[in-house]
Symmetry: C2
Subunit: 229 residues, 2 copies
Amino acid sequence: MTARTTSAKTLGARTLGEGARDIPEATVARLPVYLRALTSLAEAGTRTCSSEDLAAAAGVNSAKLRKDLSYLGSYGTRGVGYDVDYLRYQIAREIGVTQDWPVVIVGIGNLGHALANYSGFRSRGFRVVALLDADPERHDEVVAGVDVRPFDDLEQIVADQGVAIGVIATPALAAQDVADRMVACGITSILNFAPSVLSVPEGVDVRKVDLSIELQILAYHEQRKAQTA
Amino acid sequence: MTARTTSAKTLGARTLGEGARDIPEATVARLPVYLRALTSLAEAGTRTCSSEDLAAAAGVNSAKLRKDLSYLGSYGTRGVGYDVDYLRYQIAREIGVTQDWPVVIVGIGNLGHALANYSGFRSRGFRVVALLDADPERHDEVVAGVDVRPFDDLEQIVADQGVAIGVIATPALAAQDVADRMVACGITSILNFAPSVLSVPEGVDVRKVDLSIELQILAYHEQRKAQTA
DNA sequence: CTCGTTTTGTTCTCGCGTTCACAAACTCCT
DNA sequence: AGGAGTTTGTGAACGCGAGAACAAAACGAG
Ligand SMILES: NC(=O)c1ccc[n+]([C@@H]2O[C@H](COP(=O)([O-])OP(=O)(O)OC[C@H]3O[C@@H](n4cnc5c(N)ncnc54)[C@H](O)[C@@H]3O)[C@@H](O)[C@H]2O)c1
Ligand SMILES: NC(=O)c1ccc[n+]([C@@H]2O[C@H](COP(=O)([O-])OP(=O)(O)OC[C@H]3O[C@@H](n4cnc5c(N)ncnc54)[C@H](O)[C@@H]3O)[C@@H](O)[C@H]2O)c1
């Protein structure tokens, strides 16, 4: 789904030390879920939990959970379980959310406004450093404490703040252009909400969130249910 | 990822006729992408396309595309390719977007507003029939031509309009309650934007869209890139 | 110290999905 | 009509991920 060639990396990484573990993509996608479940448990005052407990909170199979965690190392204690805070820190460190990631959002329309106002960003290590839009009428509006600036400020902001992650919330037609500009000035991870296929050079990760695809998948199953009934 | 037990269905379906084809989940998830690519091609005036062309437009491998399409039937012509309009109709029919699906959205905050204003719904066979919110201050506001109504109107609306698909855009804490109410009054497909694990009975499909998980996956890969560099 | 209990970490097996490769089928040109 | 060139549809090989099952490790009781 991404432009990334994870397979080629298996041999390329350094064999020295232990910074070269290769975590399966399916596991990476579940680690944030575990992180959220652990945070819930911690807030509820739980100090320790078994793989069964955590799996239930995360909505997965406990065998799968243990296998996933085993890729990170042995952070549990047999016969006891996992220390909630300790495991939480280890997962957070592995994902990289112990540090702060500056993020720019491009396209401050309906969706861009909602994203800018979303509190789930900051609480998970992401900091919205800029809101950019091509339409001059949007400029100087302040959304969630950040003011909307011209799209042409992109290069300056990315360079100044060391931005690596960009979010695209423009119409589909503009998305490829925006992505090209982002890539050109050094952004290497893109989250795309526009319904368009982006082409980016190797080494740049793209993930897309496509609402209408999700609805169509639901519709397909709904139709099947109606047929058999 | 969903609560659906597709595996158990393989035998249960009727063997008579041809309405019982079992399309792999991975393929179902790509059909909407092909549909969109075909629409683009049609709008550009293309009447016919090869699997290479369509695969490029959809951002996938052409072998995968052909195999996906083969689950629907043989709608291409060897040596020629696919008729764009004909294939488009066949995929649309298979997914179920030739009919109109009424949808309710619950939780008309930042995200709910954006969703209600999203034009990509109607253009793909989804019709927003109601916007519901528990907060009385939101009521009677009109968003995109639909007025916001009390959450307690849910049962009435679902019954009157035959709604099968519900969208949850409330805070995480309310999501499970909303889902329970939806299920109780007959909704069998849920699209959940709240960052919480929903538990629903068998036969109900849940798909979740979780923005911060997507960002964390990007962050993970970003961190890896930084390490090896 | 030993035994039983609990729970992790890992091995093994199975099924699904991806990709390659090619025969079958169609068009067009001579 | 026949052969060359295209492009589909699918059989087969392969790799990854899910889940079951179990051995290894920790803990507590006696
Ligand atoms: N609204 C939703 O709920 C929703 C849901 C899913 C997907 N989407 C997609 O997200 C995208 C945005 O949706 P929206 O409803 O916010 O649209 P919108 O029209 O409200 O906002 C788009 C914004 O992008 C800006 N823009 C246009 N071209 C630009 C460019 N080249 N550079 C920078 N900014 C540019 C516009 O000025 C506008 O402010 C669309 O592609 C849409 O399909 C929206
Ligand atoms: N804003 C975003 O971009 C964004 C992105 C990803 C995920 N989310 C998630 O989507 C959800 C909504 O986000 P938001 O920013 O729109 O929040 P919000 O607070 O702006 O809106 C939530 C709305 O839900 C209503 N509500 C609360 N409890 C309800 C109930 N029991 N029944 C019906 N309605 C109820 C509230 O009155 C409010 O209008 C949250 O779970 C959030 O984590 C938001």
